[in-house]
Amino acid sequence: MTGIFPWLILFLPLLAAAGITLFALDHRAVSARLSIGAVVISFALSVALFVHGTRGETRFNWISLSDGAASWIVDIGLRLDPLSLMMLLVVTGVGSAIHIYSYGYMHDDPGVGRYFAGLSLFTFSMLGIVLATNFLMLFIFWELVGVSSWLLIGFWFERPAAADAAKKAFLTNRVGDFGFLLGIILVWAVLGTMDFGQLQKMMAANPALIGNSTIGIAGFLIFCGAAGKSAQFPLHVWLPDAMEGPTPVSALIHAATMVAAGVYMLCRVHFMLAADALEFIAWIGGITALLAALMAIQQNDIKRILAYSTLSQLGYMVMTVGLSGVGGNPSAAMFHLTTHAFFKALLFLGAGSVILALHHEQDIWKMGGLSKKMPVTFWTFMIATLALCGVPPFSGFFSKDEILATAQRTSPALFALGVAVAGLTTFYMFRLIFVAFTGPVKSQLPDHAHESPAVITLPLVALAVPSLLAGFWGIDRFYASQFGTGEAEAATGWVAQLTAPFAHAPGAAFGGLAAVVIGFLAAFALYWNKVQDPLPAMLGVVARWLRDRFYFDELYAKLIAATQDALATLADFVDRWLIAGLFVKGTHGSVELTGRLLRLVQTGNLQTYSLMFVAGVAVLLLFMLIR
């Protein structure tokens, strides 16, 4: 353990956030420098740790309660292993690029200070998730990324859509966290600890534990957390809306890192997921991938298309985790997570560059012909698209191929689904390219567009490199070392690496490629040089369902209105009319009424008085003497 380095990596962004909030909220340059500086230094330190090959844990005690027999201990610790080290690089690396990009993108916004504070807070929280040594610490940072996401989605809080989207994102995540927290409590209740290391040892020592039904339930519950954060069906509804945030935020949080946290967490706790839970997870992932890919086909907002694409890819990853099997190796999911982080961030940043050039126009049917006006943006966007589609030799090819290979090995149905999603992916991405970047200009806006400044294009180029090459760096093998299963020795040399997938699992590789080709051809046929979407006319109702996202939002709104809102109305009614009204006011009223009646006894007439007096005496005597 290299002493203070990991702590610095974690806390530098927090210090930056605190510093900006307290002192530099109104200072554009200072806040940007603080925030960028923090994340870049974190990146440098992460690289140092990575190169050094550091492994191990460090921690301090956060809360410790013990009666001698049992204990409840929560540490704030840092755990460095292949999983977290690589993830550190991704978060700080992609983060650095996006921070720098943001400086250009957000340059004219009056709230830059607030923006960078939020970004730094997010980086801190995300790093916390990556480095967490135990469930509760993970949960703490889990919540913190949630709130920083809320902060940044709602950055333009005066826009009702942004404010609503922020609220929706947070609440949907909370639904997942509800299960997550219960899962954590359950784990602690039955196993007595929340520490990943100890849990893993326990599981290793007693393999029968994993078949235990309680731990199975805990696994399901924990997956709820992942489903919320990674926007898996049925909690996927928040992510498209989250695009209301500034584009760099979408790139960093809602494409590259935070939404991947669910997958990361599943890999982190993979050792305690039972077979039932894994199968469930796989299917949820598969369904999400397919649904999202379908919905992406009919979106017209450039960022929304990318958002659905993100959903779909996340579904891939989650599916992979599920398919890896008990005690298996989910490193393919992490591999795809990593490459996806690069190219999806790049896609978003490219989209941001376009949006900036078009003065915040996001409808692709108002673009067109941008490839010539914005060459850097176009070519980097193209690289990322190819990577996303899984065209060799782009990074996405390798990671997607591993996923398909895993699926092919374990579940034919999900394999077919995966191939279909690959085809759809190519289709909607090239639809986007054909409509937005090539073909006729569809409004006045693109006429005045021109390439973005260097502060924006440089990060694009920087991200294009790993998008192109990450497949050759052996990231998958590095991840695999985490899970200790004996992977075949990797091929050496570029060509050998490129051909290896075809040799290993030809079905997966060729199937994937075929899907890409089909998708491309379909997109070309439908969208090349078009000014209007031909699909709605062809598909009719189906297209409308796709465009309206299968009406999930409306369904949920109804569902919430029918359950929680109805309960709230009922509770409010009971509170207002029954408890405060009937119960309290009723008591009060009846007491007062009794008083009013009782004082009528006091007639003022002396004769009644003496009569009552005598009656009183009589009652007294009767009471005492007659028994």
Binding site: A70, L136, L182, W188, V190, L567
Partner: protein
């Protein structure tokens, strides 16, 4: 004079001083109030940090006989259960004194009452004598009523004052009956709590007596803490109360009932506790879930905060009912955290009321633009209210949920729903309607807290929340030994402190 006596008597001395100062020295009242509460705060800070964590005995103890014939004594001291509460109370009191800017008329009376209330609160938490424990609480209640009646706001304040008076007095009286019955049943003929505890440990109170005394205390104290279904006074009362009063009552004085349960009811009536705490665990759902749902429907910011404050009490009840080390410790943490939070929330809503003249949320919107400081703090308070890590509330609430799992699994599931989702729904809704969205034209003249003095109380309270949220060991290490004593006293065996560690096959 010991430190605790000093910090209790300081506000009273201030009150006497104010009473003797002629009415024309308007500035002086404020200064005296600020000074005396600050002295108390300083002393409480010293007590808190000089408190030796890990020790089970009472620290900073003071004793002086008062009514010898009845064995009532001026007995002060702090242990894990109350040291943080005293600190929190003093902090909130100082903040409340700072927040009294809005009081413009009859300042003399206001500050006098404020100081009496402060002294009463500190006394109630620092007393280790049954009589003074109760006496100080009642002493703090009276100014509350008067302050709401005279300086309160809104149409409803008369009704609110009466309702609150009747409710709280009824609760206090029921608790008083319970306390006296406890004294009688214990047979030790002393009001000294440590002595009683020792005596009861040696010679337990008859089970039959425990079974009827405990509910008296539970419901008596419960009414004071707005236990469902005796909660309707709280949102109404806080809605009508002037800001400093709402801060002090919702934040601190309300915790008296909970503290009473932990300090007196549980250790002295273990069998009663065993029988009745399951009932409490069910009723706490009324707070957590039901009042949370009611809060969703509120249109007035103060009513929303008031209902959420009622809802949060559910965590403490659940923690107490859990009878586990983690749960009870968590309950105390929530008490402290909620004290700071409620004070902060009411201070902020008071500021808004002052600026806008209304707290109807429909009329607000986009205020974050005009009020970056106050708005940000309000958002943070709301997030603290829905259990965001980093604030002390999270630490406490999560401990409560963990602690109660073993005994009350279903309740914990529903409580977690209430905490994570229902809480988030109304808190976020408040932020959305108050701070976010377009800014209505009429609020263009609204001004943020202008200078450091005005920001100080908010900042102090927030700092407290963050401090205990980020370093909860400051609290838990101090609370743990005392909580362990309480739990042991009730459970008898030291084993059952944690949730089940049996693995069902």
């Amino acid at each position: 004079m010991g430190l605790l006596s000093f910090l209790i008597l300081c506000p009273f001395a201030g009150a006497v001083l104010i009473a003797l100062t002629p009415r024309s020295f308007n500035v002086l009242f404020r200064l005296i109030a600020l000074l005396t509460t600050f002295l108390s705060f300083a002393a409480a800070t010293w007590v808190f940090f000089a408190f030796h964590p890990g020790a089970t005995h009472v620290q900073f103890e003071e004793f002086c006989p008062w009514v010898g014939a009845l064995r009532i004594g001026w007995h002060l001291g702090v242990d894990g259960l109350n040291v943080a509460l005293v600190f929190m109370a003093a902090l909130v009191a100082f903040a409340a004194a700072c927040c009294s800017w809005e009081i413009k008329e009859r300042q003399k009376e206001f500050y006098l009452l404020l100081l009496v209330m402060t002294g009463g609160i500190l006394g109630a938490f620092a007393s280790l004598d049954l009589f003074f424990f109760y006496f100080f609480h009642e002493l703090a209640l009276v100014p509350t009523f008067i302050m709401i009646g005279v300086w309160g706001r809104g149409e409803n304040r008369n009704y609110a004052t009466f309702k609150m008076t009747i409710y709280l007095s009824l609760g206090a009286l029921i608790a008083l009956i319970g306390l006296i019955a406890l004294y009688v049943a214990a047979g030790a003929r002393t009001f000294d709590i440590p002595e009683l505890t020792r005596d009861v440990a040696a010679r337990p109170i008859a089970a039959s007596a425990q079974h009827w005394i405990f509910p008296l205390l539970m419901f008596g104290f419960g009414i004071l803490v707005s236990l469902w279904p005796f909660h309707t006074w709280a949102p109404l009362g806080y809605g009508a109360a002037p800001t400093p009063t709402a801060m002090l009552h919702a934040g601190v004085l309300k915790k008296f009932g909970l503290y009473g349960l932990l300090r007196i009811a549980l250790p002295l009536l273990p069998e009663g506790a065993q029988r009745w705490l399951p009932v409490l665990a069910l009723l706490c759902l009324g707070n957590l879930l039901y009042c949370g749902l009611v809060a969703i429907r509120q249109k007035n910011l103060n009513l929303l905060i008031g209902n959420s404050s009622v809802a949060h009490m559910g965590f403490v009840f659940l923690g107490i009912a859990s009878l586990s080390l983690v749960g009870v410790t968590g309950a105390v943490v929530v008490m402290v955290a909620h004290g700071l939070l409620a004070a902060l929330a009411f201070a902020l809503s008071g500021y808004l009321q002052n600026q806008l003249g209304t707290l109807e949320m429909e009329q607000m919107g986009g205020l974050l633009r005009k009020l970056p400081f106050v708005g940000t703090l309000l958002a943070l308070a709301m997030f603290a209210g829905c259990g965001l890590p980093g604030f002390a509330n999270f630490a406490g609430e999560v401990m409560v949920l963990f602690g109660a799992w073993g005994g009350h699994t279903t309740v914990v599931v529903l409580a977690a729903w209430a905490a994570l989702i229902v809480g988030a729904v109304y808190m976020l809704r408040a932020i959305r309607t108050v701070l976010h969205g377009p800014l209505p034209e009429k609020w263009s003249g609204v001004a943020d807290a202008p200078h450091a003095w005005r920001k100080l109380p908010f900042a102090l309270l927030l700092a407290g929340l963050l401090l205990f949220g980020c370093v909860p060991r400051l609290l838990t290490d101090r609370i743990q030994p005392a909580a362990l004593t309480v739990v042991r006293a009730v459970n008898g065996t030291p084993a059952a402190l944690m949730a089940t560690t049996q693995l069902p096959r």
